[in-house]
Point group: C2
Chain length 123, copies 2
């Protein structure tokens, strides 16, 4: 595996979550704090939150020193989509375990993607 | 292709960009405004910017009504990594063309990913 030249990103989709957790700003703020804290990432600003009308879900964005974290939740579908981007390589967070505990997720799909790699091409 | 159930995301890596453009907050702010404006996405807050020390790059995050946009730039490597997430399906933005014009990008790699799809599994 080549060294990523523009960082690394985890795209995490959590299925079968508790609708109540996905609609709770407190729950999501606690989750953001635990992700940043356990990975040793320093917030560079307060998180931005947007609570959609009609309990349609919540969006969150957190700018970190060398990275960022986002989430978008869909309480009615039991779904949440997280991105964690980092300029530097780092250890993975235990998404499946933690999201099961904190959101009641029954299935967590994690994609780890290198950023800035060139695709194979001619010469 | 199944309908995405937690939205869609474009991960865009731009190579061979002008170092000066990648280190310019004005250039990146103009770019963010043109992406949001051309796609008809309404900002839900002011963008967050972080200029890294030693001209190491700039990070930007923009919370939009039903989506978000991020960038991380690496002027010395001529690289920029963008994410555009949307809760709803929408048309792609002409990344290659626009980033060539606005950042001098020589090669743009776009990955379009459905969010919230279940992987194939037993039963």
């Amino acid at each position: 595996v080549p060294v990523p030249s523009a960082g690394i990103e985890w795209l995490v989709d959590a299925h079968g979550c508790d609708a109540e957790a996905l609609g709770s700003l407190d729950t999501l703020a606690t989750l953001f704090a635990s992700i940043a804290g356990e990975l040793g990432l320093q917030p560079a600003a307060d998180p931005l939150w947007r609570v959609l009308p009609d309990q349609a879900g919540i969006a969150g964005l957190l700018l970190l020193g060398e990275s960022h974290l986002s989430c978008h939740t869909f309480p009615e579908r039991g779904l949440a989509a997280f991105d964690l981007y980092s300029r530097e390589p780092r250890h993975a967070w235990p998404w499946a375990e933690r999201l099961a505990t904190q959101l009641g997720a029954r299935e967590v799909v994690v994609r780890e993607l290198a950023r800035g790699e060139r695709p194979p091409g001619p010469a």
